[in-house]
Amino acid sequence: MSDSIEDIEMRLLLEAIHLRYHYDFRHYAQASVRRRLRQAKKQLQFDTFSAMQEALLHDETMLSRILGYLTVQVSEMFRDPSFFLAIREKVVPHLRTYPSLKVWIAGCSGGEELHSYAILFREEGLEDRTIFYATDISPDALETAARGIYSLDRIAGFTENHRAAGGKTSLSDYYSTGYGGAVFDKTLRERVVFSDHSLVTDAVFAEMHLISCRNVLIYFDRTLQDRALGLFRDSLVRNGFLGLGAKESIRFSDHASSFSDFARTEKIYQRREP
């Protein structure tokens, strides 16, 4: 099966994206990449992946369209409220002991997760001492994150999540309506550095107290997961915190021994003393 013509074409396509544009999807979890490439082929109306590859090599505008399929931009504010409740109740007391904080939101998508942290840190009085790094490989996602505008029909869900995450204020304190959506206060983004950074190809860039990388590693195969977890280990201060998605775990990684469980059911880990 892995030698079917379609499979060969898909591999060549990923190779072409890598050689031409330096985005490396070759070790993403295959089944899901295949599904999304087939969707792209169908919706962009190519007969074959080879035809798609030719278009992609010669026409730069194809890249962002195909990236839209290859990266999954599904997110929400305070996604899995119990995770953010654990950050608030268990992690924040530790963070308070530092005079200054660096927080990395890796794979920040359209900024829903970043805004959740910014609000939580403001509520807990930590915002002024914190620098947030919000990174992603998708230029569209980074742009959306930096704008902080979400469609109004998502706000009820965000509000409910915020409350369930132990919110001490009302979410409506942080946005006004306009531009056809909820525009989140730009002061929430004043202490944020947005940056293009790939967990697959880029390196450590600062020393962090908390890294939140949720629902990104599930798209990687184990080799890439290991690389990313190694990067997190090397980026964290001693006893720094790592938060993963609800269904992600470090259990199968070579780096499992570098972290200890901090809030096990919420997938919050702590960097062990080296």
């Binding site: 099966m1 892995s2 089944a31 599904r35 999304r36 999954v72 629902n215 599930i218 798209y219 269904k247």
Partner: protein, 192 residues
């Protein structure tokens, strides 16, 4: 992973799922020679009650999937609510937070289609009761990959829409009453 099972069972169920699965799963022995991967549509606020519920009634071990774990014989795996479950080549289980497919996450089609590619003729797909049409494209994919498809007889099903849709798209399916499914699986797997 040379030791990865060459055969697997995938099951999809929606409305009436718990009752239907309660007829099939407890009838299978602890050493059932294949992994069983299951997608059930459940409201996301009632997540994660399925594996404890069935662990208590089954001889096979039952658990919720963790991302990138190998699918092993004798284990029943449930997809967590709000995530799609896919099978990678070589039998590794992978989760994804992609958009719902036809309003469902997890989606039966997504599981069946990826499992059909991973297991080919070694796969048995089972479509049970449900009030939507999820699983019918997946059943078709399993049949095209020379796997076996079983559909619960719509006449006796709690909700007939899903089995009917599957039979329509996959006419080669074996249609049978709920209580005939576990014996069929045992015979089918005994042969290999």
């Amino acid at each position: 992973m040379n030791d990865a099972p060459e055969r697997a069972i995938v099951i999809g169920a929606s409305a009436g799922a718990i009752e239907a699965l309660s007829v099939i799963l407890p009838a299978l022995p602890a050493d059932f020679p294949a992994p069983i991967l299951i997608v059930v549509h459940i409201p996301s606020d009632r997540s994660n009650f399925l594996s404890p519920l069935f662990a208590a009634k089954c001889q096979m071990s039952v658990r919720e999937v963790e991302d990138k774990e190998p699918a092993e014989r004798g284990i029943v795996y449930f997809a967590p609510s709000n995530y799609h479950l896919l099978v990678e080549e070589g039998g590794t289980l992978a989760l994804s937070a992609d958009e719902p497919v036809q309003h469902s996450r997890p989606s039966i089609d997504v599981l069946f289609e990826s499992a059909a590619e991973a297991y080919g003729a070694g796969l048995v797909g089972v479509v049970l009761t449900g009030a939507n049409e999820d699983g019918s494209s997946g059943a078709q994919a399993i049949a095209s990959a020379h796997g076996t498809v079983i559909v619960e007889d719509p006449a006796g099903a709690y909700a007939e829409t899903m089995p009917r849709a599957a039979i329509r798209k996959c006419p080669e399916a074996h249609v049978m009453a709920l209580d005939a499914i576990a014996p069929f699986l045992l015979r089918e797997l005994g042969r290999s």
